[in-house]
Symmetry: D2
Subunit: 347 residues, 4 copies
């Protein structure tokens, strides 16, 4: 019954995002995970590096390579890049030239303006000519463009958790645009699988801490996307915090209700915006989000409360930073690009 599966590569597969992607792709009914690369683990099998997948026959057979872009493009028609910022852009160029379709999980193609990129990332963009060609991989916003895209820039984890709840209110002009404050908490996989003292168990356990205050890099893409929607330059406040969980982000977002809004009904607004979305769950009045309910899934849970005392709306969202915030959303985009059911391999 199954026909030919699409050959897919994951470049830089050794981190938490890469591992999540590999797991999703191994289990995906329409995909043949044909290439995984890692400089560090070249020559080792997937099963050796990720014992979690050791029972999977492909995992025992498939070995990490240290292939260059051209070789990868010969072996796969869709390529995920799970590389550090900067390196991803360099790898994307020859892949695209060779005809591969690319989903980049780094920040390299998210920001369209190379000046903004330089401001937030501290160096020149390595492939500025490609910026205009990438599609921001948020299916709830750019579904149609993603279907046709050759280069998808998968959104950051914090931006995913903030943009999805905020967008319907901004589009409806329901909130005062200068009053947006987003306070987020992320699990430690968000820092990557890097050997740094700050992320040792004994430094993170029994620890909660803000960081990147006041100008975290993810602000650049959040503000870009909100500004496009608002048709004016929009600036928000954003503070990330590190909390001792493996997976999960909670974003609590505050905004003044716009002065001309007499009575806001967020349930109607959100139902209208996301009622048909396969991965958006609206919690309504009786529940608040909790990372444990989205861990390991591609869902975003959203709830809201209006505070009559302060005339503000409080939005709260939960995602798994490694799934809807990274690998799962990338697979969702890939499904769109390949004309597969959007939920294939994800539910």
């Amino acid at each position: 019954m199954t026909t030919t599966k699409t050959k897919v590569a994951v470049v830089g597969a050794s981190g938490y995002t890469g591992e999540e992607l590999v797991g999703l792709l191994l289990a995906h009914p329409n995909i043949d995970l044909a290439v995984v690369t890692s400089r560090q683990f070249a020559g080792k099998s997937l099963a050796e590096v990720f014992p979690r997948f050791a029972h999977d026959k492909n995992s025992a057979r498939l070995k990490f390579s240290d292939s260059e872009a051209k070789q990868v493009a010969r072996d796969a028609t869709v390529v995920f890049l799970a590389l550090p910022h900067g390196l991803a852009a360099e790898f994307a160029k020859p892949l695209l030239s060779a005809g591969a379709r690319v989903l980049d999980l780094s920040a390299d193609f998210r920001v369209k303006d190379s000046d903004v990129y330089r401001e937030f990332y501290g160096h020149e963009h390595p492939a500025a000519d490609l910026l205009g060609k990438s599609v921001y991989g948020l299916p709830e916003v750019y579904r149609d463009q993603i279907r046709e895209a050759r280069l998808v820039a998968c959104p950051g984890c914090y931006p995913t958790s903030i943009l999805i709840p905020l967008r319907p209110l901004i589009r409806r002009k329901a909130i005062a645009r200068k009053t947006i404050v987003a306070s987020s908490m992320s699990g430690v996989t968000g820092a990557g699988r890097k050997a740094e003292v700050d992320y040792l168990f004994s430094e993170c356990n029994e620890s909660v801490r803000p960081y990147g205050v006041p100008k975290h890099r993810h602000l650049s893409e959040i503000e870009q996307e909100l500004s496009i929607l608002a048709r004016e330059k929009l600036v928000i406040q954003f503070t990330p915090h590190l909390v001792p969980i493996n997976r999960g982000i909670i974003s609590t977002i505050y905004a003044d209700i716009a002065t001309n809004v007499v009575k806001m009904d967020p349930a109607v607004i959100f139902q209208s915006a996301y009622g048909q979305e396969p991965f958006v769950r609206l919690l309504g009045d009786d529940r608040l989000p909790d990372t444990k309910y989205v861990a390991g899934t591609n869902f975003i849970d959203i709830s809201w409360r209006i505070d009559r005392r302060t005339n503000r709306i409080v939005l709260m969202s939960a995602i798994d930073n490694t799934v809807k915030g990274a690998g799962g959303q990338a697979v969702q985009c890939m499904n769109l690009m390949l004309g597969l059911p959007e939920t294939a391999g994800l539910i």
Copy 2:
């Protein structure tokens, strides 16, 4: 060198706050912990109930009693109440009548206005006549009044973490009062030692969740204290979140810089306000707070960042909710009441 020690009682000593208090008082050089009460553990020794203290000779000797207020007042001159809301007020009355000095760790005497109490706590205040006589036990604000007080209402944990950083900016009119948003994260001891499914290990581990949105009870005392300072009714936004640590609160607080402020220098403002405070540590430009640096201590760590892009100030504070947020602050108040060095038994 010291002569007679003051006899002290802890009423309702079986919870996390009670345990922290008991530990501090057992080790306090000027105190004789003479009475501990607990309905549940009456007849058991401190050592049996709190194995952590089992080596302490007083802990092996001292037994929990189920004494009534009058008896407690006979056996101790200073009484800490670590009882649930409502019960504390009932217990305080006869204690005060009998001449004891009382430090209440519940919310019963924090809010001065019995209407506000009813609004936030959902029932009539059980001893409204005493409201006018209590002193809000925040030494950084009410040091002189605490020295003379017969009834101290020890502040809540969230209010401590929010009021101390906010006060100097409000007094200086440095921030726009209607724009204050406080997003806080608390460890699970804050929920008390109650057998409830929501606080089981497997419900809290790998979980982060907002709660009490938008009108948590602690708002009542936060707004009361800020309004007194501002000399006008002040309303803020406050969202607490539960995070999987035992001890600690981080409060991240946002406010617009007041329009008439040309150049704010928070370092000067905070140094002026708290430079001499024994338990306030100002982190300055190069560090951000982390709960692990205050865990087990009575310190509050405070830092700040000005965001020129948004014209906001971001304040961040860290405390141990069971120490500076409860038992330690209560001992700090007791030290003032007894004319002891403010840091006795705490550093």
Copy 3:
């Protein structure tokens, strides 16, 4: 392609085991989860009680009932019992009489000898006549009997983690039977979703503790199964410890190598015993087990080391206590009973 699905019930579905079962059954391609019961949650939908499954259409539709056994047997042909000890036996009787096939996840039918049951569980067995009719639900041992069984007693979590690694060595007489020591560590879901102070987050976090020393209830089924295999009464040492993780058991098992064994090759023994088992992963010489690699899966990972200094073998196993130690193994048994692929819904 699949035709009719088997109607299945989960009785007592509100605990951690029940939740895991429900999740597996909702996603199972051959099963129609038709009945879930819970006294506590009767009338609520699965989606309300388990927000994790809220996107599943069955989960939104299916409501917890408080049905009696006869009604359950009318609505389902296979019934899982996730009830407390004692209650399960009472429920099983009428179910079996009504023709249902029953998989019991409690301890009620694991021990065949009602005297041993009384010794370890402290009361008379409530349905001793059924003891002879149950099959111990360890597919790696009793696969054929499980296929035909009408009443399956699903093994305890610790026993699963201890019996699978020990059995091949006992059958081969490779170890000295009187020298077996098993030291196990379990995550906190093993204690169930009960509101008890001992299992609060702040009591378990930063805590490791032995319990049930020296005679934990699970010893009764471990020793029963080992004795059947050894054809003589076999007694072992077993100490469980509680560790602060949600899911997972590590069992480290020690035994003297039998005196008549000249050279033992555990790799050959284990490969011969389990090389074809779909859920047993043999780690070999280069890896040791880790709970994180089996969490959320039905696998048991096994490794071993021979210590020439002491002439002992050290066996180490890892399972997820809620999956291979409970719900997953129960589904594995159900697959056998229904003639489905053994891995259906599990990989």
Copy 4:
């Protein structure tokens, strides 16, 4: 009232052991912490590197140096070495020559036999001539020798937790010496503050794993000390496990009761051995140890159970690996060396 304080140095103070030592010494009433060295942090103040101590005036004043041994010996009369294995021995030589008294927290001087050292540590001992001069720093065993020692080899964390409970039974010949099995669990600070992927938060959280099977380095000192006591070569089984807590070790130790023992009364044996020890707490029949009750303290909690079914005794102990297992025990030794009360600065 205070007279002159002893000047003390901590060499290699930047790890978890160093931090614990520094904290204890800053608070010690009889000690002047005069020197802290760290290659990595040279030039920074204690307060900068350890924000936990930022309020302490000495901590703000005292800067890390990169001093050589001779300079350290000029500035301090007692020197703690918290250096990696190998480096400690090299540093100790010139310190001792210069007249300093040295407490080494590495493994360099614990094993008296340089052949055993080579076998377990894989290289020649760098200062074999000093081996005969060191005293094993377990005050419960070598109190008198420690008082006079110039070079104290502070015991490893696991050995401390195993030797203290085992010794009285071996001395009394109450257990069969060939049957000893020790299964231990340690928190992650035991792995040190090293930037390694294996100890990242997301690798340790939700993870339990054995390691160092079957021949962990600590076996060498455990067996040395037990053999000295037994007056014959004694070999034991020992398996450490990593568990997701910051601080704490539980050791569960199994041994057959010796065949000639008619009736063993462990309570009498332990009371006789340790009834007067300031840091040994005997839990008796009604309690089992828990790391959370010893965390942050220098106590070892010990309990035992006799299993009549198997004729074994099960010993269980709990310590804080960074205190009684490292820094606290070193301070206890220092107190003895300086003629101070043994508990000074520790209770």
